[in-house]
Amino acid sequence: MIKKLRQNPDLLFGTIFTGILLLIVLVGLIHTPYPTTQMSAADKFAAPGLMHIFGCDQYGRDIFSRVMEGLGSTFVIALFTVLIGSVSGVLIGSLCGYFGGLLDDALMRVNDVLFSFPSILLALVIVSLLGTGSVNVTLALGIAFVPSFARIVRSEVKKQAALDYVQSARLMGASHFRIIFVHILPNILPVLASSVMIGFNNAVLAEAGLSYLGIGVQPPRASLGRMLSEAQSFLFTAPWYAIFPGLTIVLLVLGFALLAEGMTEGGRDAS
């Protein structure tokens, strides 16, 4: 295992970055150095130091504690986004790919348009229909991510459905339902796994963008995107206020991208 990590720096750094951030999220669930909404006039714009490693914001709130909380929300929202997107995408994609026909044509035509529509814009529109808030943003992002999953799954299922083993399973009397979920799906799992990881990153970026625009997690709860948009007014006095939440997003996305890259590479070596 360790040897494998050594040969694969992507996997190594990906694991380290993701591990550290995951640890921060988990610790943040039970304990933050300071209460996330505790204001203190004396600490207003305190520079990063021993007391506050990331410094303080305009209300004297500890930025590190707020980053911990914000990272947690980002994590949860991205996770559920990918979950909603992939589960619905797999359902729609596998049905369309397996059965084909008129429904497939119609759904895929709509899907193509939605797919080429940027997901953050799609989510923005859905949020405008549903209203703001973290649950609605998760729902909106989840829906916005369905087309890309449906597209990938459909083309994979279509490829698999033409293979002989599907024919034999059919001859043995397996139902369509069984063939799709028991025989075909396990075979497309590797493709699905890598698109889930890419999807997670896109979800993180989209969530950060939406909360930067003020849609999404609502104050007083901390969110990385909103911290960035607030920090922008104080760039001159407190650049660290913008830099730390921003770097956290970068690290999260980078770690996951490296992890995904390393895993595909590892898989390629193994086979």
Binding site: V110, L121, L213, V250, V253
Partner: protein
């Protein structure tokens, strides 16, 4: 394509129809009397049946009339036409930057594949891809605006007043939008070039005595561009979306500002028009990509004919 646009229009119109909340009520405030709400509904044409309104809206759109903004009372078309050049200019500059930078960088990386520079570039690429465009925008405006003082953050100049200054102000936001996409296309193009370089025609070209440069530019690059065209076609839509967010960072009153304001104010005619417009751009891009495909890959032309 027209059919798809029609479908998009219908879905958008219907979606804003089924959500709770009455535009007339939200315009008058919650303590308006029932009579005044009813009067306004008649004035806004909200009391007509759904399909009648849909078709009248549709016909309006075909004539370039997208209705009247609820909150500003101005024709939507005018509002958008005024802001469109800003966002389009930004997306165009980003696109040019993206293509202009990524092609040479990818060629360089592919030529030196496996070397230390190549690996360094790859790491830098991974890093850039992880940076959200709006954070990049904040960093750029901090670096150039406050540390180096090369430009004034928030000092946007209207394109009507001074086109040169307008373009100059757009450069940083465009870089912020373009860089992550640029990193992605370097990655794609590099691997596409390397995949092509393994093929037999490359060896044939070398054996005919062509130099590396000639092989690379005349043969490999052309074939390696094919997957990139798809990517760039899709990137255009992403860049428009990216501009909408980055516009907020740099305080540019473009399409993004209108879209966000009207979403906040539930000004649906404006939201519908902006979405329809972006859908149109997306579809036009798809068409362009298809056409470019035929030009780059003659095999497709034969299949069609």
């Amino acid at each position: 394509m027209l059919l798809t646009l029609l479908a998009v229009g219908f879905v958008v119109f219907a979606a804003f129809e089924i959500i709770p909340g009455d535009a007339a009520v939200s315009r008058l405030g919650s303590n308006a009397t029932a009579e005044s709400v009813a009067a306004l509904r008649t004035e806004m044409g909200l009391d007509r049946p759904f399909f009648v309104r849909f078709f009248s809206w549709l016909f309006g759109c075909l004539h370039g009339d997208f209705g009247t903004s609820y909150s500003y009372g101005m024709p939507v078309a005018g509002m958008i036409v005024e802001k469109l050049p800003i966002t389009l200019c930004m997306s165009l500059i980003s696109m040019l930057l993206c293509i202009g930078v990524s092609v040479p960088v990818a060629l360089f990386a592919a030529k030196h594949a496996g070397s230390r520079t190549d690996r360094g570039l790859r790491s830098a690429n991974q890093l850039v891809m992880a940076v959200p465009a709006f954070f990049l925008g904040i960093l750029l405006s901090w670096l150039f605006g406050m540390v180096l003082k090369w430009f004034t953050p928030g000092g946007y100049v209207s394109y009507k007043k001074d086109f040169g200054a307008f373009l100059a102000y757009l450069i940083l936001p465009s870089v912020a939008v373009a860089l992550p996409k640029c990193a992605m296309s370097v990655k794609l193009l590099r691997s596409a070039i390397l995949a092509e370089a393994d093929k037999e025609y490359v060896r044939t070209a070398y054996s005919r005595g062509l130099s590396t440069m000639e092989v690379l530019y005349r043969h490999v690059l052309k074939n390696a561009m094919i997957p990139l065209v798809t990517f760039w076609g899709m990137a255009v839509a992403d860049m428009i979306a990216g501009s909408i967010v980055v516009e907020q960072v740099f305080n540019i009153p473009g399409l993004g500002r209108i879209l966000l304001n009207s979403i906040a104010k539930r000004d649906y005619p404006v939201v519908e028009a902006v979405i329809l417009l972006i859908a149109l751009v997306v579809l036009l891009m798809n068409l362009l990509v298809d056409t470019l495909y035929r030009l780059l890959d003659p095999r497709l032309k034969e299949e069609q004919g």
